[in-house]
Symmetry: C2
Protein backbone atom coordinates (compact mmCIF):
# COMPACT_ATOMS: atom_id res chain seq x y z
CA UNK A 1 0.00 0.00 0.00
CA UNK A 2 3.01 2.35 0.34
CA UNK A 3 3.69 4.12 -2.98
CA UNK A 4 7.14 3.98 -4.55
CA UNK A 5 9.18 6.46 -6.55
CA UNK A 6 8.21 4.52 -9.68
CA UNK A 7 4.56 5.29 -8.87
CA UNK A 8 5.38 9.01 -8.91
CA UNK A 9 7.23 8.71 -12.22
CA UNK A 10 4.23 6.88 -13.70
CA UNK A 11 1.89 9.55 -12.31
CA UNK A 12 4.01 12.27 -13.95
CA UNK A 13 3.51 10.61 -17.34
CA UNK A 14 -0.27 10.46 -16.79
CA UNK A 15 -0.41 14.11 -15.74
CA UNK A 16 1.77 15.47 -18.57
CA UNK A 17 -0.26 18.06 -20.46
CA UNK A 18 -3.16 17.71 -17.98
CA UNK A 19 -1.74 19.37 -14.87
CA UNK A 20 -0.02 22.76 -14.95
CA UNK A 21 3.77 22.61 -14.64
CA UNK A 22 3.67 25.29 -11.95
CA UNK A 23 6.56 27.77 -11.96
CA UNK A 24 9.33 27.99 -9.36
CA UNK A 25 9.71 31.68 -8.51
CA UNK A 26 12.19 33.72 -6.53
CA UNK A 27 12.85 37.34 -5.65
CA UNK A 28 16.47 38.57 -5.57
CA UNK A 29 15.41 41.36 -3.18
CA UNK A 30 13.79 38.93 -0.76
CA UNK A 31 16.81 36.64 -1.03
CA UNK A 32 19.06 39.58 -0.13
CA UNK A 33 16.92 40.32 2.94
CA UNK A 34 16.92 36.68 4.05
CA UNK A 35 20.62 36.10 3.29
CA UNK A 36 19.85 32.92 1.38
CA UNK A 37 17.82 31.64 -1.51
CA UNK A 38 14.08 31.13 -1.18
CA UNK A 39 12.25 29.35 -4.00
CA UNK A 40 8.47 29.40 -4.18
CA UNK A 41 6.71 26.56 -5.98
CA UNK A 42 3.53 28.32 -7.13
CA UNK A 43 1.17 25.36 -6.89
CA UNK A 44 -1.73 27.78 -6.36
CA UNK A 45 -1.60 28.14 -10.16
CA UNK A 46 -2.48 24.47 -10.56
CA UNK A 47 -5.72 23.44 -12.28
CA UNK A 48 -8.58 23.98 -9.73
CA UNK A 49 -6.25 26.20 -7.66
CA UNK A 50 -4.52 23.53 -5.60
CA UNK A 51 -2.30 20.44 -5.78
CA UNK A 52 -5.37 18.23 -5.22
CA UNK A 53 -5.96 17.87 -8.97
CA UNK A 54 -2.72 15.89 -9.29
CA UNK A 55 -3.68 13.08 -6.94
CA UNK A 56 -7.29 12.93 -8.05
CA UNK A 57 -6.38 12.71 -11.72
CA UNK A 58 -3.72 10.07 -11.07
CA UNK A 59 -6.18 7.96 -9.10
CA UNK A 60 -9.21 8.28 -11.38
CA UNK A 61 -7.23 7.75 -14.59
CA UNK A 62 -6.30 4.26 -13.34
CA UNK A 63 -9.88 3.06 -12.91
CA UNK A 64 -11.01 0.20 -15.14
CA UNK A 65 -13.52 0.90 -17.89
CA UNK A 66 -16.22 -0.67 -15.72
CA UNK A 67 -15.26 1.48 -12.73
CA UNK A 68 -15.18 4.63 -14.86
CA UNK A 69 -18.69 3.89 -16.06
CA UNK A 70 -19.92 3.73 -12.47
CA UNK A 71 -18.33 7.00 -11.44
CA UNK A 72 -16.55 8.24 -8.34
CA UNK A 73 -17.61 9.73 -5.04
CA UNK A 74 -15.75 11.97 -2.58
CA UNK A 75 -16.55 14.01 0.50
CA UNK A 76 -14.97 17.42 0.95
CA UNK A 77 -16.02 21.03 1.21
CA UNK A 78 -12.76 22.31 -0.14
CA UNK A 79 -9.90 21.77 -2.51
CA UNK A 80 -10.28 17.98 -2.73
CA UNK A 81 -13.87 18.41 -3.93
CA UNK A 82 -12.78 20.64 -6.80
CA UNK A 83 -9.79 18.43 -7.62
CA UNK A 84 -11.95 15.31 -7.87
CA UNK A 85 -14.75 17.05 -9.81
CA UNK A 86 -12.34 18.52 -12.37
CA UNK A 87 -10.22 15.38 -12.74
CA UNK A 88 -13.30 13.19 -13.19
CA UNK A 89 -14.75 15.65 -15.69
CA UNK A 90 -11.50 15.73 -17.67
CA UNK A 91 -11.64 11.93 -17.85
CA UNK A 92 -15.34 11.74 -18.73
CA UNK A 93 -16.19 10.13 -15.39
CA UNK A 94 -19.23 11.13 -13.30
CA UNK A 95 -18.39 12.46 -9.82
CA UNK A 96 -20.61 12.83 -6.76
CA UNK A 97 -19.25 15.24 -4.15
CA UNK A 98 -20.77 15.09 -0.66
CA UNK A 99 -20.66 18.59 0.84
CA UNK A 100 -22.14 20.16 3.98
CA UNK A 101 -25.34 22.09 3.26
CA UNK A 102 -23.87 25.14 5.00
CA UNK A 103 -20.69 25.21 2.90
CA UNK A 104 -20.05 28.59 1.24
CA UNK A 105 -22.31 28.94 -1.81
CA UNK A 106 -19.32 29.79 -3.97
CA UNK A 107 -17.65 26.46 -3.15
CA UNK A 108 -20.77 24.51 -4.01
CA UNK A 109 -21.15 26.50 -7.24
CA UNK A 110 -17.48 25.94 -8.16
CA UNK A 111 -17.77 22.20 -7.61
CA UNK A 112 -20.86 22.06 -9.82
CA UNK A 113 -19.20 24.22 -12.48
CA UNK A 114 -16.32 21.73 -12.56
CA UNK A 115 -18.76 18.97 -13.39
CA UNK A 116 -19.44 17.53 -9.93
CA UNK A 117 -22.90 16.37 -8.81
CA UNK A 118 -23.21 17.87 -5.35
CA UNK A 119 -25.05 15.93 -2.60
CA UNK A 120 -25.65 18.09 0.46
CA UNK A 121 -25.80 16.81 4.03
CA UNK A 122 -26.49 18.29 7.43
CA UNK A 123 -23.19 18.30 9.27
CA UNK A 124 -24.86 18.32 12.68
CA UNK A 125 -27.10 15.28 12.22
CA UNK A 126 -25.60 13.26 9.35
CA UNK A 127 -22.28 11.53 8.64
CA UNK A 128 -20.60 12.38 5.35
CA UNK A 129 -18.68 9.10 5.46
CA UNK A 130 -21.95 7.13 5.75
CA UNK A 131 -23.57 9.09 2.92
CA UNK A 132 -20.57 8.63 0.64
CA UNK A 133 -20.39 4.92 1.50
CA UNK A 134 -24.10 4.51 0.70
CA UNK A 135 -23.62 6.21 -2.68
CA UNK A 136 -20.59 4.02 -3.36
CA UNK A 137 -22.67 0.87 -2.66
CA UNK A 138 -25.79 2.06 -4.47
CA UNK A 139 -24.06 3.18 -7.66
CA UNK A 140 -21.00 0.96 -7.51
CA UNK A 141 -19.00 4.21 -7.45
CA UNK A 142 -15.37 4.30 -6.37
CA UNK A 143 -14.55 6.39 -3.30
CA UNK A 144 -11.65 8.80 -3.91
CA UNK A 145 -10.08 9.50 -0.52
CA UNK A 146 -8.28 12.82 0.13
CA UNK A 147 -4.91 11.42 1.22
CA UNK A 148 -4.94 7.84 2.51
CA UNK A 149 -4.31 6.19 -0.84
CA UNK A 150 -1.03 5.29 -2.57
CA UNK A 151 -2.05 6.66 -5.98
CA UNK A 152 -3.28 9.92 -4.48
CA UNK A 153 0.07 10.31 -2.72
CA UNK A 154 1.96 9.40 -5.91
CA UNK A 155 0.00 12.06 -7.80
CA UNK A 156 0.82 14.75 -5.23
CA UNK A 157 4.44 13.58 -5.40
CA UNK A 158 4.69 14.83 -8.99
CA UNK A 159 4.83 18.32 -7.50
CA UNK A 160 8.09 17.29 -5.79
CA UNK A 161 9.44 15.71 -8.96
CA UNK A 162 8.89 19.01 -10.80
CA UNK A 163 10.48 20.94 -7.96
CA UNK A 164 13.63 18.79 -8.10
CA UNK A 165 13.91 19.16 -11.88
CA UNK A 166 13.32 22.93 -11.77
CA UNK A 167 15.92 23.47 -9.04
CA UNK A 168 18.41 21.35 -10.98
CA UNK A 169 17.76 23.36 -14.16
CA UNK A 170 18.64 26.48 -12.15
CA UNK A 171 21.88 24.80 -11.03
CA UNK A 172 20.71 24.66 -7.41
CA UNK A 173 20.91 22.00 -4.73
CA UNK A 174 17.96 22.30 -2.36
CA UNK A 175 19.01 22.15 1.27
CA UNK A 176 15.44 22.15 2.56
CA UNK A 177 11.88 21.85 1.27
CA UNK A 178 8.90 22.94 3.40
CA UNK A 179 5.43 21.63 2.57
CA UNK A 180 1.98 22.40 4.05
CA UNK A 181 0.34 19.41 5.74
CA UNK A 182 -3.18 18.42 6.73
CA UNK A 183 -3.70 14.68 6.18
CA UNK A 184 -0.16 14.75 4.83
CA UNK A 185 -0.61 13.38 1.31
CA UNK A 186 1.30 16.21 -0.35
CA UNK A 187 4.26 16.25 2.02
CA UNK A 188 4.49 12.44 1.88
CA UNK A 189 4.52 12.44 -1.92
CA UNK A 190 6.97 15.34 -2.15
CA UNK A 191 9.31 13.74 0.41
CA UNK A 192 9.23 10.46 -1.53
CA UNK A 193 9.97 12.26 -4.79
CA UNK A 194 12.85 14.27 -3.30
CA UNK A 195 14.35 11.23 -1.52
CA UNK A 196 15.16 9.92 -5.00
CA UNK A 197 15.37 13.02 -7.19
CA UNK A 198 17.14 15.29 -4.67
CA UNK A 199 18.42 13.00 -1.92
CA UNK A 200 20.36 15.71 -0.05
CA UNK A 201 17.20 17.73 0.63
CA UNK A 202 15.68 17.72 4.11
CA UNK A 203 11.87 17.92 4.07
CA UNK A 204 9.74 19.59 6.76
CA UNK A 205 6.00 19.79 7.16
CA UNK A 206 4.29 23.07 8.09
CA UNK A 207 0.97 23.23 9.97
CA UNK A 208 -1.07 25.92 11.69
CA UNK A 209 -0.28 26.36 15.39
CA UNK A 210 -2.67 24.27 17.47
CA UNK A 211 -3.17 21.85 14.58
CA UNK A 212 0.36 20.45 14.40
CA UNK A 213 -0.70 16.81 14.69
CA UNK A 214 1.97 15.77 12.18
CA UNK A 215 4.76 17.59 14.03
CA UNK A 216 3.66 15.93 17.29
CA UNK A 217 3.28 12.55 15.60
CA UNK A 218 6.81 12.78 14.25
CA UNK A 219 8.11 13.50 17.75
CA UNK A 220 6.04 10.71 19.28
CA UNK A 221 6.99 8.22 16.57
CA UNK A 222 3.32 7.34 16.13
CA UNK A 223 0.19 9.02 14.82
CA UNK A 224 -1.45 11.29 17.37
CA UNK A 225 -4.52 13.46 16.91
CA UNK A 226 -4.97 17.17 17.57
CA UNK A 227 -6.47 17.95 20.94
CA UNK A 228 -9.82 19.50 20.15
CA UNK A 229 -9.51 22.35 22.58
CA UNK A 230 -9.37 26.10 22.24
CA UNK A 231 -7.23 26.16 19.11
CA UNK A 232 -8.57 28.10 16.13
CA UNK A 233 -6.97 28.84 12.75
CA UNK A 234 -8.05 30.54 9.54
CA UNK A 235 -6.21 27.80 7.58
CA UNK A 236 -9.44 26.03 6.64
CA UNK A 237 -7.66 23.57 4.34
CA UNK A 238 -5.41 22.21 7.11
CA UNK A 239 -7.93 20.92 9.64
CA UNK A 240 -7.34 17.14 9.45
CA UNK A 241 -7.27 15.76 12.98
CA UNK A 242 -4.33 13.40 12.43
CA UNK A 243 -1.93 12.30 9.70
CA UNK A 244 -3.18 9.62 7.35
CA UNK A 245 -1.94 6.09 7.93
CA UNK A 246 -0.24 5.59 4.56
CA UNK A 247 1.19 9.13 4.44
CA UNK A 248 2.61 8.72 7.95
CA UNK A 249 4.44 5.54 6.97
CA UNK A 250 6.40 7.81 4.61
CA UNK A 251 6.56 10.82 6.96
CA UNK A 252 8.27 8.88 9.74
CA UNK A 253 10.92 7.58 7.36
CA UNK A 254 11.48 10.69 5.25
CA UNK A 255 10.70 13.93 7.13
CA UNK A 256 13.24 15.96 9.07
CA UNK A 257 10.50 17.32 11.35
CA UNK A 258 7.47 19.54 11.42
CA UNK A 259 6.92 23.19 12.30
CA UNK A 260 3.83 24.96 13.66
CA UNK A 261 3.00 28.44 12.33
CA UNK A 262 0.85 31.10 14.04
CA UNK A 263 -1.91 32.57 11.85
CA UNK A 264 -0.36 36.04 12.16
CA UNK A 265 2.77 34.80 10.38
CA UNK A 266 0.64 33.07 7.75
CA UNK A 267 -1.25 36.31 7.05
CA UNK A 268 2.08 38.13 6.63
CA UNK A 269 3.21 35.44 4.20
CA UNK A 270 0.02 35.91 2.16
CA UNK A 271 0.79 39.64 2.00
CA UNK A 272 4.37 38.93 0.87
CA UNK A 273 3.11 36.50 -1.80
CA UNK A 274 0.72 39.24 -2.99
CA UNK A 275 3.21 42.09 -3.20
CA UNK A 276 6.41 40.27 -4.07
CA UNK A 277 5.28 37.28 -6.13
CA UNK A 278 1.87 38.57 -7.39
CA UNK A 279 0.33 35.28 -6.28
CA UNK A 280 -2.99 34.63 -4.57
CA UNK A 281 -2.24 32.09 -1.84
CA UNK A 282 -4.89 30.84 0.56
CA UNK A 283 -4.13 30.62 4.31
CA UNK A 284 -3.49 26.88 4.32
CA UNK A 285 -1.35 27.25 1.21
CA UNK A 286 0.89 29.87 2.81
CA UNK A 287 2.07 28.10 5.99
CA UNK A 288 5.31 26.79 4.45
CA UNK A 289 6.17 30.24 3.08
CA UNK A 290 5.36 31.64 6.52
CA UNK A 291 7.72 29.15 8.17
CA UNK A 292 10.56 30.34 5.95
CA UNK A 293 9.82 34.08 6.21
CA UNK A 294 9.42 34.01 9.99
CA UNK A 295 12.66 32.11 10.52
CA UNK A 296 11.04 28.93 11.88
CA UNK A 297 12.86 27.25 9.01
CA UNK A 298 15.96 29.42 8.54
CA UNK A 299 16.90 30.48 5.00
CA UNK A 300 20.16 32.26 5.88
CA UNK A 301 23.07 30.66 4.02
CA UNK A 302 20.85 27.99 2.51
CA UNK A 303 18.60 27.21 -0.43
CA UNK A 304 15.06 26.59 0.78
CA UNK A 305 12.05 25.67 -1.37
CA UNK A 306 8.50 26.17 -0.10
CA UNK A 307 5.33 24.91 -1.72
CA UNK A 308 2.44 27.39 -1.90
CA UNK A 309 -0.11 24.63 -2.20
CA UNK A 310 -3.39 26.41 -2.94
CA UNK A 311 -5.06 29.70 -3.77
CA UNK A 312 -8.79 29.23 -3.18
CA UNK A 313 -9.67 32.03 -0.80
CA UNK A 314 -12.57 34.44 -0.44
CA UNK A 315 -11.84 38.07 -1.29
CA UNK A 316 -12.76 39.10 2.26
CA UNK A 317 -10.32 36.72 3.95
CA UNK A 318 -7.63 37.60 1.43
CA UNK A 319 -8.02 41.35 1.86
CA UNK A 320 -7.95 41.13 5.66
CA UNK A 321 -4.63 39.25 5.37
CA UNK A 322 -2.95 41.61 2.89
CA UNK A 323 -4.48 44.87 4.15
CA UNK B 1 15.80 51.91 -35.98
CA UNK B 2 12.92 49.42 -36.46
CA UNK B 3 13.70 46.12 -34.71
CA UNK B 4 13.54 42.85 -36.63
CA UNK B 5 12.46 39.35 -35.69
CA UNK B 6 16.15 38.44 -35.44
CA UNK B 7 16.52 41.13 -32.74
CA UNK B 8 13.81 39.36 -30.72
CA UNK B 9 15.49 35.98 -31.15
CA UNK B 10 18.78 37.50 -29.99
CA UNK B 11 17.01 39.09 -27.01
CA UNK B 12 15.54 35.72 -26.05
CA UNK B 13 19.05 34.25 -25.85
CA UNK B 14 20.21 37.13 -23.62
CA UNK B 15 17.19 36.76 -21.33
CA UNK B 16 17.34 32.96 -21.00
CA UNK B 17 17.69 32.12 -17.32
CA UNK B 18 17.37 35.82 -16.38
CA UNK B 19 13.71 36.51 -17.10
CA UNK B 20 10.91 34.22 -15.89
CA UNK B 21 9.37 32.03 -18.58
CA UNK B 22 5.90 33.07 -17.47
CA UNK B 23 3.20 30.39 -17.68
CA UNK B 24 0.31 30.32 -20.12
CA UNK B 25 -2.79 29.46 -18.09
CA UNK B 26 -6.36 28.56 -18.93
CA UNK B 27 -9.54 27.54 -17.13
CA UNK B 28 -11.76 24.86 -18.71
CA UNK B 29 -14.73 26.27 -16.79
CA UNK B 30 -14.16 29.79 -18.11
CA UNK B 31 -13.63 28.39 -21.61
CA UNK B 32 -16.98 26.60 -21.35
CA UNK B 33 -18.68 29.85 -20.33
CA UNK B 34 -17.05 31.81 -23.16
CA UNK B 35 -17.58 29.10 -25.77
CA UNK B 36 -13.96 29.29 -26.89
CA UNK B 37 -10.46 29.05 -25.57
CA UNK B 38 -8.94 31.86 -23.54
CA UNK B 39 -5.23 31.68 -22.72
CA UNK B 40 -3.71 33.97 -20.12
CA UNK B 41 -0.01 34.82 -20.38
CA UNK B 42 0.80 35.51 -16.72
CA UNK B 43 3.46 38.16 -17.27
CA UNK B 44 2.63 39.62 -13.85
CA UNK B 45 4.86 36.79 -12.55
CA UNK B 46 7.84 38.31 -14.36
CA UNK B 47 10.86 39.54 -12.40
CA UNK B 48 9.89 42.98 -10.92
CA UNK B 49 6.22 42.17 -11.55
CA UNK B 50 5.93 43.32 -15.14
CA UNK B 51 7.23 42.79 -18.68
CA UNK B 52 9.43 45.88 -18.33
CA UNK B 53 12.37 43.79 -17.08
CA UNK B 54 12.65 42.10 -20.49
CA UNK B 55 13.27 45.26 -22.50
CA UNK B 56 15.46 46.90 -19.87
CA UNK B 57 17.71 43.84 -19.55
CA UNK B 58 17.99 43.43 -23.30
CA UNK B 59 18.97 47.08 -23.71
CA UNK B 60 21.41 47.36 -20.81
CA UNK B 61 23.14 44.03 -21.53
CA UNK B 62 24.22 45.42 -24.91
CA UNK B 63 26.05 48.44 -23.50
CA UNK B 64 29.81 48.57 -24.06
CA UNK B 65 32.13 48.07 -21.09
CA UNK B 66 32.73 51.82 -21.00
CA UNK B 67 29.00 52.57 -21.06
CA UNK B 68 28.33 50.03 -18.33
CA UNK B 69 30.94 51.70 -16.16
CA UNK B 70 29.12 55.03 -16.52
CA UNK B 71 25.72 53.64 -15.63
CA UNK B 72 22.20 54.22 -16.88
CA UNK B 73 19.44 56.70 -16.12
CA UNK B 74 15.66 56.45 -16.56
CA UNK B 75 12.60 58.45 -15.56
CA UNK B 76 9.50 56.62 -14.39
CA UNK B 77 7.39 56.32 -11.31
CA UNK B 78 6.20 52.83 -12.15
CA UNK B 79 7.05 49.52 -13.73
CA UNK B 80 9.79 50.85 -16.01
CA UNK B 81 11.65 52.21 -12.97
CA UNK B 82 11.70 48.81 -11.32
CA UNK B 83 12.55 47.02 -14.56
CA UNK B 84 15.56 49.26 -15.20
CA UNK B 85 16.76 49.17 -11.58
CA UNK B 86 16.60 45.36 -11.40
CA UNK B 87 18.09 44.76 -14.85
CA UNK B 88 20.95 47.16 -14.17
CA UNK B 89 21.56 45.58 -10.79
CA UNK B 90 21.60 42.07 -12.30
CA UNK B 91 24.25 43.28 -14.77
CA UNK B 92 26.32 45.14 -12.18
CA UNK B 93 25.49 48.52 -13.70
CA UNK B 94 24.60 51.61 -11.63
CA UNK B 95 21.12 53.01 -12.31
CA UNK B 96 19.70 56.44 -11.50
CA UNK B 97 15.91 56.60 -11.54
CA UNK B 98 14.27 60.02 -11.67
CA UNK B 99 10.97 59.86 -9.78
CA UNK B 100 8.43 62.48 -8.68
CA UNK B 101 8.85 63.42 -5.02
CA UNK B 102 5.16 62.68 -4.41
CA UNK B 103 5.32 59.12 -5.83
CA UNK B 104 3.97 56.48 -3.43
CA UNK B 105 6.61 55.73 -0.81
CA UNK B 106 6.38 52.01 -1.55
CA UNK B 107 7.36 52.58 -5.20
CA UNK B 108 10.35 54.65 -4.20
CA UNK B 109 11.34 52.02 -1.63
CA UNK B 110 10.95 49.18 -4.17
CA UNK B 111 13.11 50.97 -6.72
CA UNK B 112 15.82 51.51 -4.09
CA UNK B 113 15.55 47.89 -2.93
CA UNK B 114 16.14 46.77 -6.52
CA UNK B 115 19.40 48.69 -6.54
CA UNK B 116 18.30 51.98 -8.10
CA UNK B 117 19.62 55.37 -6.94
CA UNK B 118 16.48 57.48 -6.74
CA UNK B 119 16.62 61.18 -7.67
CA UNK B 120 13.42 62.99 -6.72
CA UNK B 121 11.95 65.97 -8.56
CA UNK B 122 9.00 68.28 -8.10
CA UNK B 123 6.56 67.43 -10.82
CA UNK B 124 4.93 70.86 -10.72
CA UNK B 125 8.07 72.94 -11.19
CA UNK B 126 10.68 70.65 -12.72
CA UNK B 127 11.03 68.57 -15.89
CA UNK B 128 12.00 64.93 -15.45
CA UNK B 129 13.35 64.84 -19.00
CA UNK B 130 15.65 67.78 -18.28
CA UNK B 131 16.86 66.25 -15.01
CA UNK B 132 17.53 62.88 -16.64
CA UNK B 133 19.30 64.57 -19.56
CA UNK B 134 21.48 66.55 -17.14
CA UNK B 135 22.43 63.36 -15.29
CA UNK B 136 23.18 61.66 -18.59
CA UNK B 137 25.54 64.48 -19.59
CA UNK B 138 27.13 64.89 -16.17
CA UNK B 139 27.88 61.19 -15.61
CA UNK B 140 28.03 60.05 -19.20
CA UNK B 141 25.15 57.73 -18.29
CA UNK B 142 23.00 56.09 -20.97
CA UNK B 143 19.31 57.00 -20.98
CA UNK B 144 17.07 53.91 -21.05
CA UNK B 145 13.76 55.00 -22.62
CA UNK B 146 10.51 53.21 -21.73
CA UNK B 147 9.43 52.22 -25.26
CA UNK B 148 10.90 54.30 -28.08
CA UNK B 149 13.97 52.11 -28.63
CA UNK B 150 14.46 49.09 -30.92
CA UNK B 151 16.21 46.97 -28.28
CA UNK B 152 13.56 47.74 -25.66
CA UNK B 153 10.87 46.65 -28.14
CA UNK B 154 12.86 43.53 -29.06
CA UNK B 155 13.12 42.61 -25.37
CA UNK B 156 9.36 42.99 -24.83
CA UNK B 157 8.87 40.89 -27.97
CA UNK B 158 10.36 37.85 -26.22
CA UNK B 159 7.04 37.65 -24.36
CA UNK B 160 5.34 37.05 -27.72
CA UNK B 161 7.96 34.53 -28.76
CA UNK B 162 7.25 32.53 -25.59
CA UNK B 163 3.50 32.83 -26.16
CA UNK B 164 3.81 31.38 -29.68
CA UNK B 165 5.96 28.47 -28.48
CA UNK B 166 3.67 27.72 -25.53
CA UNK B 167 0.53 27.72 -27.70
CA UNK B 168 2.26 25.47 -30.22
CA UNK B 169 3.29 23.05 -27.46
CA UNK B 170 -0.40 22.85 -26.49
CA UNK B 171 -1.27 22.06 -30.12
CA UNK B 172 -3.12 25.37 -30.52
CA UNK B 173 -3.26 27.94 -33.29
CA UNK B 174 -3.90 31.39 -31.86
CA UNK B 175 -6.61 33.26 -33.73
CA UNK B 176 -6.10 36.45 -31.74
CA UNK B 177 -3.72 37.98 -29.20
CA UNK B 178 -4.69 41.03 -27.12
CA UNK B 179 -1.99 43.13 -25.48
CA UNK B 180 -2.17 46.13 -23.10
CA UNK B 181 -0.72 49.32 -24.57
CA UNK B 182 0.59 52.60 -23.22
CA UNK B 183 3.57 53.80 -25.27
CA UNK B 184 3.09 50.55 -27.16
CA UNK B 185 6.48 48.85 -26.79
CA UNK B 186 5.00 45.55 -25.60
CA UNK B 187 2.30 45.27 -28.24
CA UNK B 188 4.79 46.26 -30.96
CA UNK B 189 7.29 43.61 -29.86
CA UNK B 190 4.64 40.93 -29.42
CA UNK B 191 3.09 41.69 -32.83
CA UNK B 192 6.53 41.49 -34.45
CA UNK B 193 7.23 38.15 -32.73
CA UNK B 194 3.87 36.67 -33.71
CA UNK B 195 4.09 37.91 -37.31
CA UNK B 196 6.95 35.41 -37.71
CA UNK B 197 6.29 32.75 -35.08
CA UNK B 198 2.49 32.61 -35.43
CA UNK B 199 1.66 34.42 -38.68
CA UNK B 200 -2.07 33.57 -38.65
CA UNK B 201 -2.62 35.43 -35.37
CA UNK B 202 -4.34 38.82 -35.41
CA UNK B 203 -3.00 41.20 -32.74
CA UNK B 204 -5.06 43.88 -30.98
CA UNK B 205 -4.04 46.52 -28.48
CA UNK B 206 -6.15 47.19 -25.38
CA UNK B 207 -6.23 50.59 -23.63
CA UNK B 208 -8.35 52.23 -20.94
CA UNK B 209 -11.38 54.11 -22.24
CA UNK B 210 -10.50 57.76 -22.71
CA UNK B 211 -6.83 56.90 -23.20
CA UNK B 212 -7.13 54.95 -26.46
CA UNK B 213 -4.56 57.01 -28.34
CA UNK B 214 -3.23 53.90 -30.08
CA UNK B 215 -6.68 52.78 -31.24
CA UNK B 216 -7.36 56.26 -32.61
CA UNK B 217 -3.89 56.46 -34.18
CA UNK B 218 -4.48 53.15 -35.97
CA UNK B 219 -7.74 54.48 -37.38
CA UNK B 220 -6.17 57.79 -38.37
CA UNK B 221 -3.13 56.12 -39.91
CA UNK B 222 -0.88 58.48 -37.96
CA UNK B 223 0.07 59.08 -34.34
CA UNK B 224 -2.47 61.15 -32.45
CA UNK B 225 -2.43 62.12 -28.79
CA UNK B 226 -5.10 61.66 -26.13
CA UNK B 227 -7.27 64.69 -25.63
CA UNK B 228 -6.51 65.84 -22.12
CA UNK B 229 -10.08 66.35 -21.09
CA UNK B 230 -12.33 64.80 -18.49
CA UNK B 231 -11.09 61.24 -18.92
CA UNK B 232 -9.89 59.42 -15.80
CA UNK B 233 -8.72 55.83 -15.34
CA UNK B 234 -7.29 53.74 -12.50
CA UNK B 235 -4.91 52.11 -15.03
CA UNK B 236 -1.93 54.14 -13.83
CA UNK B 237 0.52 52.20 -16.01
CA UNK B 238 -1.27 53.10 -19.25
CA UNK B 239 -1.17 56.90 -19.21
CA UNK B 240 1.19 57.62 -22.15
CA UNK B 241 -0.28 60.44 -24.20
CA UNK B 242 0.51 58.93 -27.61
CA UNK B 243 2.13 55.83 -29.15
CA UNK B 244 5.91 55.91 -29.45
CA UNK B 245 7.34 56.67 -32.88
CA UNK B 246 9.24 53.41 -33.35
CA UNK B 247 6.48 51.23 -31.84
CA UNK B 248 3.89 52.86 -34.10
CA UNK B 249 5.92 52.04 -37.21
CA UNK B 250 5.26 48.39 -36.23
CA UNK B 251 1.70 48.95 -34.98
CA UNK B 252 0.46 50.38 -38.26
CA UNK B 253 1.89 47.45 -40.20
CA UNK B 254 1.05 44.62 -37.82
CA UNK B 255 -2.00 45.36 -35.63
CA UNK B 256 -5.56 44.39 -36.48
CA UNK B 257 -6.91 47.28 -34.41
CA UNK B 258 -7.25 48.58 -30.90
CA UNK B 259 -10.00 48.35 -28.29
CA UNK B 260 -10.88 50.70 -25.42
CA UNK B 261 -11.94 49.20 -22.09
CA UNK B 262 -13.99 50.93 -19.34
CA UNK B 263 -12.45 50.73 -15.85
CA UNK B 264 -15.49 48.80 -14.57
CA UNK B 265 -14.69 45.94 -16.98
CA UNK B 266 -11.03 46.08 -15.97
CA UNK B 267 -11.95 45.76 -12.28
CA UNK B 268 -14.11 42.72 -13.10
CA UNK B 269 -11.19 41.19 -14.99
CA UNK B 270 -8.94 41.70 -11.95
CA UNK B 271 -11.54 39.86 -9.85
CA UNK B 272 -11.68 37.01 -12.36
CA UNK B 273 -7.87 36.77 -12.41
CA UNK B 274 -7.95 36.61 -8.59
CA UNK B 275 -10.59 33.93 -8.21
CA UNK B 276 -10.04 31.84 -11.31
CA UNK B 277 -6.31 32.14 -12.01
CA UNK B 278 -5.02 33.06 -8.51
CA UNK B 279 -3.06 35.90 -10.08
CA UNK B 280 -2.52 39.43 -8.85
CA UNK B 281 -2.96 41.66 -11.90
CA UNK B 282 -2.75 45.45 -11.72
CA UNK B 283 -5.36 47.61 -13.47
CA UNK B 284 -3.19 48.41 -16.48
CA UNK B 285 -2.18 44.75 -16.71
CA UNK B 286 -5.78 43.56 -16.87
CA UNK B 287 -7.18 45.56 -19.81
CA UNK B 288 -6.53 42.83 -22.40
CA UNK B 289 -8.19 40.20 -20.20
CA UNK B 290 -11.07 42.63 -19.70
CA UNK B 291 -11.44 43.07 -23.47
CA UNK B 292 -11.82 39.29 -23.87
CA UNK B 293 -14.13 38.76 -20.88
CA UNK B 294 -16.43 41.63 -21.79
CA UNK B 295 -16.79 40.52 -25.41
CA UNK B 296 -15.00 43.53 -26.91
CA UNK B 297 -12.70 40.92 -28.44
CA UNK B 298 -14.97 37.88 -28.86
CA UNK B 299 -13.68 34.49 -27.68
CA UNK B 300 -16.63 32.40 -28.88
CA UNK B 301 -15.47 29.77 -31.36
CA UNK B 302 -11.89 31.04 -31.28
CA UNK B 303 -8.59 30.71 -29.46
CA UNK B 304 -7.66 34.04 -27.89
CA UNK B 305 -4.51 34.82 -25.89
CA UNK B 306 -4.33 37.83 -23.58
CA UNK B 307 -1.24 39.17 -21.87
CA UNK B 308 -1.65 40.12 -18.21
CA UNK B 309 1.31 42.45 -18.32
CA UNK B 310 1.86 43.49 -14.71
CA UNK B 311 0.92 42.94 -11.08
CA UNK B 312 2.24 45.92 -9.12
CA UNK B 313 -0.81 47.20 -7.33
CA UNK B 314 -1.53 48.55 -3.86
CA UNK B 315 -3.58 46.30 -1.58
CA UNK B 316 -6.25 49.00 -1.31
CA UNK B 317 -6.77 49.37 -5.06
CA UNK B 318 -6.67 45.60 -5.49
CA UNK B 319 -9.23 44.92 -2.80
CA UNK B 320 -11.62 47.56 -4.11
CA UNK B 321 -11.46 45.82 -7.51
CA UNK B 322 -12.01 42.26 -6.27
CA UNK B 323 -14.37 43.05 -3.39
Amino acid sequence: MIPTFADIEAAALRLAGKAVLTPLLESPELNARLGGRLLVKAECLQRTGSFKFRGAYNRISQLTEEERRRGVVAYSSGNHAQGVAAAASALGVAAVIVMPADAPAVKIANTREMGGEVVLYDRWTESREAIAAAIAVERGATLVPPFDDPQIIAGQGTCGLELAAQAQAMGLLLDVAVVPASGGGLVAGVALALSHASPGTEVFSAEPEGFEDLARSLKAGARVANEMGEARSFCDALMASSPGEIPFALHRKLLGGGVAVPDADTAKAMAEAFSRFRLVVEPGGAVALAAALSGKVPVKGRTVAVICSGGNVDAGVFCRAIG
